[in-house]
């Protein structure tokens, strides 16, 4: 112990003695630059160069897919196409970000089968790799939200507190359109808010982040990633909870319940009453007892 102490003191002393030398400062500077540059070359440079070329490949691939599948509505450079009336045939995609592409294409909403009031969810047309390429291309058009990392939407470790809090956020921000049970609801002019059951955590997160179609968006600065994860945790918990009270009848509340009570319940009772009072079979035979 004492030996090492002595040794280190001595070395420090030697070095210290030379630190005011004329060439000391440039030497240290040179050494520092060499080490930094060397480190950079050794670790960072090749990898990033590879990433960059991979990114460029990705963007190029995305662009070729885009020109085939998307450009007819969104324009050759994703600038959007306006209609004569001043509306948009396909909106501009500059700045919508990779998250919007991952949501729209990943849920099958894009490409649309035909122009209509609303893009419908269907089986995705592109595979995961193609979606990534498309997202990379659209993200290259302008800065926008990127696809969230799995840690941002993973709700496996959600606690009861998270779920309760998520329920509060859900009831405040989402139920007006998506129904208190997340079963969706009607909007004007044939549009609708879709049901939230069976939607993946990632797509839920992206929908909140990007505000697809008529849905308002909820930026991370206000509705924080934690808040969003809590909302997703609540919805997932809600989905796996059994319908303890019986059939949900679409979770539409008194509308469908009343419909069932009046038509099936009371209708059934009326039918049964009519049937009971209907004529019984009669026999033409003479009574044997008499």
């Amino acid at each position: 112990m004492r030996l090492t102490q002595k040794l280190s003191h001595r070395i420090a002393g030697r070095l210290s003695a030379g630190r005011r030398g004329r060439i000391a400062a440039p030497l240290v500077l040179l050494l520092g630059l060499l080490v930094t540059g060397g480190m950079y070359a050794a670790f960072v440079s090749p990898a990033s160069a590879q990433d960059q070329s991979a990114d460029e490949d990705m963007v190029a691939k995305g662009r070729s897919l885009f020109l085939v599948g998307c450009a007819s509505c969104h324009g050759k450079n994703g600038e959007g196409i306006s209609t004569v009336k001043g509306g948009q045939y396909g909106p501009s995609l500059v700045g919508v970000g990779a998250a919007a592409v991952d949501f729209q294409v990943g849920t099958g909403r894009m490409p649309m089968a035909q122009p209509g009031t609303q893009a419908l969810r269907k089986a995705p047309v592109y595979n995961a790799e193609e979606i990534e390429a498309l997202a990379a291309y659209v993200a290259s058009l302008g800065p926008g939200p990127s696809v969230p990392a799995e840690s941002e939407y993973d709700v496996k470790d959600a606690t009861n507190e998270d779920i309760v809090r998520g329920g509060e956020f859900f009831r405040t921000n989402c139920t007006a359109c998506h129904n208190f049970a997340g079963n969706g609801g009607a909007l004007p002019r044939g549009r609708f808010a879709p049901a939230l059951t069976g939607v993946s955590e990632k797509h839920m997160y992206e929908a909140m982040l990007t505000g697809p179609q008529q849905m308002p968006l909820f930026s991370d600065e206000i509705l924080s990633p934690t808040d969003k994860r809590q909302i997703i945790a609540y919805l997932k918990k809600n989905e796996e909870t059994p319908n303890y009270g019986g059939f949900t009848l679409g979770s539409l509340g008194p509308v469908s319940e009343g419909l069932f009570a009046w038509i099936i319940g009371i209708g059934g009772l009326v039918g049964a009453a009519v049937w009971i009072a209907a004529n019984t079979t009669r026999s033409r035979k003479k009574t044997q007892h008499e």
Partner: protein, 344 residues
């Protein structure tokens, strides 16, 4: 007695032959085998009912409820079994009774005449006699002092029914004309009280907001407003904050500086019957009430464009405080929520 006397007055039928068909026997009336079969059917139904009742009892104790409930087809097993078995038990008794009545009980048509509406003359004379005797013996006609004071006492009892109506009051005064919003109060996100910077909002963003005071605490760590008072204020003060393309907004005269960078703030209470409205279509800027489909254009001063609402949804004027967060510059300039008589 008098009854036989009264009944005997109906001697001839008003219609000699009302045209009833001749009675025809049922198979169970003439066929002994059919009769036995029907008897067994009824007994089987009653027996089944007993079994279902026992199954009800078994499922009550057997099926788990609570945190880890038993589940059948995604439904709570306990509720399903209890309801199902009880329903079947009652249904079997019901069907058994009807089968019994229709197959085995006699179904000969008979005629029952109505009882006369009035009592016999003797009974009526007797009642009048009792009443007269009572009046004489109590002397109510001869003692007006007692009679009048009794009437007074009975009349006064009516106050018992009227006085508690005071609980309906007091009148609301000017409460409906004001909310808790005032100059300089921060607009924050509901639930977690996040203050809002305009740069944190994107075009097309919706925030469900509340006045910051709902989340403030006093020196002792107690909420400044809580309990019933909080609910009352919340019912009037809830707002939605939306951000649109500034070019899309057409403010009416005097409202030009009510927004910040395309961010506008409106009451969340529908002007029709007061439902909370936050169903906002970001592309059309329409705010739709889910109750009765009243639709307001938030880019056009909250104007009603569809539905039963009669007034535009009130707008809250916004500004920024020293730290750059959104604040209200005054209370709402008109009463929020549904119209009322005194509003004029």
């Amino acid at each position: 007695m008098s009854e036989t006397h009264e009944l005997s007055t109906v001697e001839t039928e008003p219609i000699a032959d009302p045209g009833l068909p001749a009675h025809e026997p049922r198979p169970t009336d003439v066929d002994e085998k059919a009769e036995t079969r029907a008897e067994r059917q009824v007994a089987t139904l009653f027996g089944l009912s007993t079994i279902f009742t026992l199954l009800f009892c078994v499922s009550y104790f057997w099926l788990e409820v609570g945190d880890e409930p038993d589940v059948i087809l995604g439904l709570g097993a306990s509720n399903l079994a209890l309801g199902g078995f009880l329903g079947l038990a009652l249904l079997c008794i019901g069907i058994g009774m009807i089968q019994w009545a229709r197959k085995l009980m006699t179904d000969e048509e008979i005629i029952e005449y109505r009882h006369p509406g009035s009592s016999s003359n003797e009974d009526r004379d007797e009642s009048v006699k009792i009443l007269v005797l009572g009046t004489e013996e109590s002397g109510i006609a001869r003692r007006p002092l007692i009679r009048n004071s009794l009437l007074g006492a009975m009349g006064a009892l009516g106050l018992v029914a009227i006085i508690p109506l005071r609980d309906l009051g007091p009148l609301p005064g000017d409460k409906l004309f004001h909310t808790i919003w005032k100059k300089g109060m921060r607009v924050v996100q509901d639930v977690d009280a996040t203050p809002i910077k305009p740069s944190d909002m994107e075009i097309g963003q919706l925030i469900n907001g509340e006045p910051g005071i709902f989340f403030e605490e006093d020196d002792e760590g107690e909420p400044v407003i809580e309990g019933a008072e909080l609910q009352v204020e919340k019912a009037k003060a809830a707002v939605v904050i939306v951000k649109m393309q500034p070019d899309d907004i057409t403010p009416s005269k005097g409202r030009e500086n009510w927004g910040v960078d395309g961010i506008l703030c409106y009451s969340k209470i529908c002007t029709h019957v007061g439902c909370p409205i936050s169903l906002w279509e970001q592309q059309t800027h329409h705010l739709l009430c889910p109750c009765h489909q009243s639709t307001f254009d938030l880019a056009d001063n909250g104007r009603v464009i569809f539905g039963p609402a009669a007034r535009a949804v009130p707008q809250l004027p916004l500004a920024l405080d020293d730290e750059g967060y959104l604040i209200a510059t005054s209370d709402f300039t008109e009463p929020v929520g549904p119209s009322f008589w005194e509003r004029g």
